[in-house]
Symmetry: C2
Subunit: 260 residues, 2 copies
């Protein structure tokens, strides 16, 4: 989810998530570690309960030692979905990284448990995470900082608040560093739902920008220095709105037939 997800007017993204997790049978632990604002986690508890989920609770993780506690681990045991709030993604990687909680999230996700996050909580999901960077600029070697994330997928790098904060430059820089990555830039109040078959569908009021560098013909990323603008020739770009989908294996986008 690209951040600033609608919680009131038309909360279709969050309702979709709760429904995917089993509706009233959903068991959803919430990780609010990215933020120090305690109310944020509590807002999601209320919201998910209002949407029908009966078992929703915050996992109290403020420091690494909390990730070793039986009290934290036990919250995940019957989870049908895990939700990670926004905040600072480096709090997530530095506090959760390498702990039993991070290992548990990876294992549960591999077993089919849904893992969703908004803003920083979306950034942390992939193996390669954008932890910082510049907005509104042409891609340069310094446009983006990459650090290791939770590693639920290694084939994509996720950026959020995408159009609102003008982050195309830093997403292009990220994929240019190693063109095996597909870049996914998610607008606010917008989400992708990645399925087992490596396709994802777009939901929400904004768009998702996909940058596919796999057929890049020319790149100066290896020789550019600091804030030099880089040449990147033949990057494929898609802008996908609600209902469109994308296959991460074949790298093909599908848009719904227009309604008559």
């Amino acid at each position: 989810m690209g951040g600033a997800v609608s919680k009131r007017k038309n909360p279709v993204i969050l309702q979709n998530f709760v429904d995917e997790c089993g509706g009233e049978n959903a068991v959803i632990p919430i990780i609010a570690t990215a933020t120090k604002v305690q109310e944020i986690g509590e807002q999601y508890v209320k919201l998910f309960k209002k949407m029908g989920a009966k078992k929703v609770s915050i996992v109290n993780i403020q420091k690494r030692s909390d990730c070793l506690k039986e009290e934290s681990i036990s919250k995940f045991l019957k989870a049908t979905g895990i939700f990670i709030t926004g905040g600072n993604q480096l709090r997530l990687s530095t506090i959760l990284g390498g702990t039993p909680v991070a290992q548990l999230i990876r294992r549960l996700n591999a077993d089919g448990v849904h893992v969703a996050g908004t803003s920083a909580g979306a950034a942390i999901l992939s193996e390669h995470m954008i932890s910082g960077g510049r907005s509104g600029e042409t891609p340069t070697p310094r446009s983006v900082s990459l650090t290791p994330g939770l590693g639920l997928t290694n084939s994509v790098v996720i950026d959020q608040h995408f159009r609102q904060r003008d982050r195309l430059g830093r997403l292009l820089a990220a994929v240019a560093y190693n063109p095996f990555l597909i870049g996914i830039g998610i607008d606010e109040d917008t989400a992708v739902f990645i399925k087992h078959d490596h396709t994802f569908e777009v939901v929400g009021s904004g768009a998702v920008t996909v940058v596919d560098p796999s057929h890049i013909k020319h790149s100066t990323m290896s020789i550019a220095r600091g804030s030099d603008a880089v040449n990147l020739v033949d990057i494929k770009l898609h802008v996908l709105a609600e209902g469109a989908s994308y296959n991460l294996d074949t790298k093909e986008a599908t848009v719904p037939e227009p309604q008559q």
Copy 2:
């Protein structure tokens, strides 16, 4: 291999590699893409042949389209070992990344084919690669640049020319970003041989510095800015010389019994 590997006096590291690959039956394609100095690849061809390997050849990859050529792919087909020279690791990630050659190297390695590299060729091997950074400084958020590598392992991050270029600060910064990583700093003329059982052994005239952040108690990496020095409390550090080994799963070092 940590760079500047002895090729003349006592080339124990390279001889070990050739022996592991089957000695005279070894089939070794060499990737010299990291450097533009053509002689470097040719030096290794001569050297490996002198060490007994009969089938050694350079894979001619100067640009991404070379990675699609039948001529390049065919060099890997009966490989028993793959060798990647030093140079600029961003040339490796930007030219090989996401191509059939990168996929082939990953698949062959998963099937048991040895993959070795020196300097930039060592850095590229892991999923998280140090592509740049500062020498001789206290760890700060800006000490290190991480970019995606070949991904033969995701549990370690490798630095090289380690003691010679005073790179402890940037290796500490790398592992502090997400403490699931184990940092391996390899001195010049020194190597680690990682085995199937996730242990590695040290060979060569220098040492290997291991930084294990898994029990870190306190870190300010998530709040430090730019060139702020960071607090990192309770990082475990090992210095391992020839004959010592390390288990990446249990995170325990073993040193040989002293000779009487």
